[in-house]
Point group: C2
Chain length 204, copies 2
Amino acid sequence: MGETGKMMVRRPRTARGERTRRTLLDAAALEFGTLGFQGASISGITRRAGTALGSFYTYFESKDEIFRALVNDMSAQVRGTIGPKILAAPDRLTGELAGLTAFIEFVREHQELYRIVDEAEFVDQDSYRGHYRRTVDGYLTSLTEAAERGEVRSDISEVHAWAIVGMNVFLGLRYGVWSDEEAPADVAAQAFALLRDGLKPQSG
Amino acid sequence: MGETGKMMVRRPRTARGERTRRTLLDAAALEFGTLGFQGASISGITRRAGTALGSFYTYFESKDEIFRALVNDMSAQVRGTIGPKILAAPDRLTGELAGLTAFIEFVREHQELYRIVDEAEFVDQDSYRGHYRRTVDGYLTSLTEAAERGEVRSDISEVHAWAIVGMNVFLGLRYGVWSDEEAPADVAAQAFALLRDGLKPQSG
């Protein structure tokens, strides 16, 4: 899950192996997030992870491969953080408010997210597009189901899913990465009022 | 206009000079759009422009400077293309539909736009942020004025402007850069219905 078809996936078979892989990915997030793809190195990643260089090659073949795995991993982390918040809400519409609040909070705690995903546009287009396609697919599926339950407008389309994802990505950039002065819940509440009721003049 | 405060601006004083500068910027859009910032060269730009190397230095000091000027120029081109379409509409709300249609069409004709603006995040943060800040500022100003005329919801905020710009940027990426199968007017109409009326179940 969360891996592209092209990638040879070597998942660790033990819990300890899984932990080492996790440590390497977290170290890679810091390394790529701080130095960018060009500046990052495998030795820098293993130094941050406190693992031997040999360990790295047990899990990843190259800097390219761990970068791809990292984009997929961060993408899955975002969906794994936001998805449950949306599902826990009483309905899909208010779930959007909870999801956006959680997303802005996630971005503040993972400042490297944008730099890594955005650099993927240049380093590995497949990972870049894959991240957004999976995010939008998830949105479209849950919005379509919500439409069938009458919780959101009935004509939900892929265009709508892209529009909402774009809205959230830009709010995360502006209020998560560029500044942390505004309370995430306040930002999300303003955006949610627009998303729920629309831009037209509101009666009453 | 369209230049950052930090940049030394040497604008040509003659129409012919203005044309040469324009030719160099258009050539730079192709060069950076095709090869990226690292791969691009001043000689590649002058070759595409059909100008002497000396001409380049009449207008720009370095590859960095023409890149910054190009981001500002493309940013101004986007606003100069979309703004009038929004203003020509009978009201600000339907202007949004015209503006988004025009934006998707613009992106299809300027495939290099995203690559250049997105690379600015890594090459020159000031240009990157400046582009989005100016775009959002323009949106916020015109939406606030429209709110005073009663054409859109009365509580327009910066958050709303960021949300709408994000929506448009992602729709431009998906339906302008990644694919050109869908008619821009159809994509814009679907997004506009969501933006105007909101995600909530629609009555009637």
